[in-house]
Subunit: 136 residues, 3 copies
């Protein structure tokens, strides 16, 4: 089952908490046990897993990525969004999560974030749910 | 099949070689061919694949991450472990490995490491093993 | 189904576009719907997804990684290729892609790249294709 979900991002750089969206997708699928793959079909956005209890954590991640990949740095790509492309490759385009007893398996502090690096925009999120085979 | 394994880490930053642990888990499952997903349910730890023949390689990775994400850098998160969170998102929370003829498929020099960025601690490692479907 | 493909890289650092190779592997497998995992069995190379329309994008990624992980930086590993190992862990060794209606699901601008960080060399690329179970 492949789901396509829209996510609205709010700033040039913006980590949107999609944990609830992913959880609801799993619930609606009825899957009890298996794998949930998340894929971001964009080259200036990504997906990461990190703390979602204190919002200052993702603010620190965004700020440090801005320091590591400066907004103006003599880049060759003429569109001016090379830093966003570079951050996307650092953070990655996909995440793999486990589902057990109908629920996403996450650590106490973990949430899932769509990472916007060249927004604000409407982004797509692809979620593929793979139930454990009863023959496995 | 979902396995939960405990790993004791030894320093503030510490890459623990878990290649043997993962291999033994696969062996005990009896799976001959399929996928092995590894997931770290923590926000200040991660998992990576790199050389495990010469321990100076992971020492260099840990040292360079410390340079890229300084321990003191005007972070907002008050717990003081923002660098650990940032490194976790750079390295990633999961890895996907192949299993063939009952064995982990790795390159000659590759090993799997649990990456501690805010230790020492007792960490959990989740391993999910997905046999190839005979109907695939 | 596990495929092993050879890729020749051309420079010390070189992102080789493997999108066509991956697409052809999927086509030859006959799979209509499922998952495609890509794994690089090397410790000084990786795999990433980013824009492949304008080649200046990956040039900017390679150049910024060179800035973030300098070629000479007081590394301990005596082979002199620590920067390549570090970059491999930043970019990652695997990618997970979706297949739908017999085709790789990618965003408009996305391509798949084997990331050489210590070339030129002959590299291997492992591709595992997992059809959706009809029992799923």
């Amino acid at each position: 089952m492949l789901y396509r979900i829209s996510v609205r991002t709010r700033g040039r750089v913006d980590f949107q908490d999609i944990t609830g969206t992913v959880s609801e997708t799993i619930k609606s699928s009825g899957m009890q046990s298996g794998i949930c793959h998340i894929f971001v079909p964009h080259t200036t956005a990504g997906v990461t897993i990190n703390e979602h209890a204190d919002p200052s954590v993702v603010e620190d991640i965004m700020a440090q990525l801005d320091k590591m990949v400066p907004q103006h740095g003599g880049y060759r790509h003429l569109e001016g969004n090379s830093p966003a492309h570079i951050k996307a490759s650092l953070v990655g385009s996909s995440q793999t999560l486990f589902v057990d007893e109908g629920r996403l398996v996450l650590g106490t502090w973990q949430g899932v974030f769509l990472c916007e690096f060249d927004g604000p925009r409407n982004r797509s999120l692809l979620i593929k749910i793979i139930p454990d085979s009863t023959h496995g």
